[in-house]
């Protein structure tokens, strides 16, 4: 079992650019959620998707968007990057109502 996989593991972007982060859930898990973890803080909920539909959205600007594909993998897209978007982005997958399994995260640095 490979667990939840995220790509890339690290990346550096310039202010104003756009970035796409990818997540592959554990086989059989239909729910994927995204979190932002700024240094020194706990993970903050961004989005939840289930069966390709958005089920929840945290308090993030419209520059953040996501989608889920028929194979349940997911992408998180951030437009017009700001320095403050620098963070670890975590993906978690689960069967609904059961334990969430987290990926290793993507470390995004905006310069």
């Amino acid at each position: 079992d490979a667990g939840v996989t995220q790509s890339p593991t690290h990346l550096i972007k310039t202010r104003g650019q756009q970035v796409t982060l990818r997540c592959s859930p554990i086989s059989g898990h239909k729910s994927v959620s995204w979190y932002q973890q700024v240094l020194g803080q706990g993970p903050q909920f961004i989005f939840q998707y289930y069966e390709k539909e958005e089920r929840g959205r945290g308090n993030f600007p419209d520059r953040f968007s996501a989608r889920q594909f028929p194979n349940y993998s997911s992408e998180l897209n951030v437009n017009a990057l700001l320095l403050g978007d620098s963070a670890l982005y975590l993906c978690a997958s689960s069967l609904i109502g059961v334990e969430a399994f987290f990926g290793q995260g993507t470390r995004l640095t905006v310069v």
């Binding site: 959620s33 803080q41 706990g42 939840q48 289930y50 109502g97 399994f101």
Partner: protein
Amino acid sequence: AQRVTQPEKLLSVFKGAPVELKCNYSYSGSPELFWYVQYSRQRLQLLLRHISRESIKGFTADLNKGETSFHLKKPFAQEEDSAMYYCALAGNTGNQFYFGTGTSLTVIP
């Protein structure tokens, strides 16, 4: 609105001593609470959830609705317990967690 508070960012205890990591929450509905742990260089993983009422690695946590708390306890700390601990509250649809800021636990040999 849901909120999770972990008042201690850092906690150090000696091996064999009792440990308690504090967590308070605010939530208008019926809360579902969890403790997640992150060991060095590992991914975030579930330690325990209040519904299961299990004891994992010697840790227990009791939901106190009157005090809106879900403190994590272990009677005898071990060196391998050194890690970052996050208290989390589940949202309505599951897989939607609201985390505290975390407590870094160091167990001194």
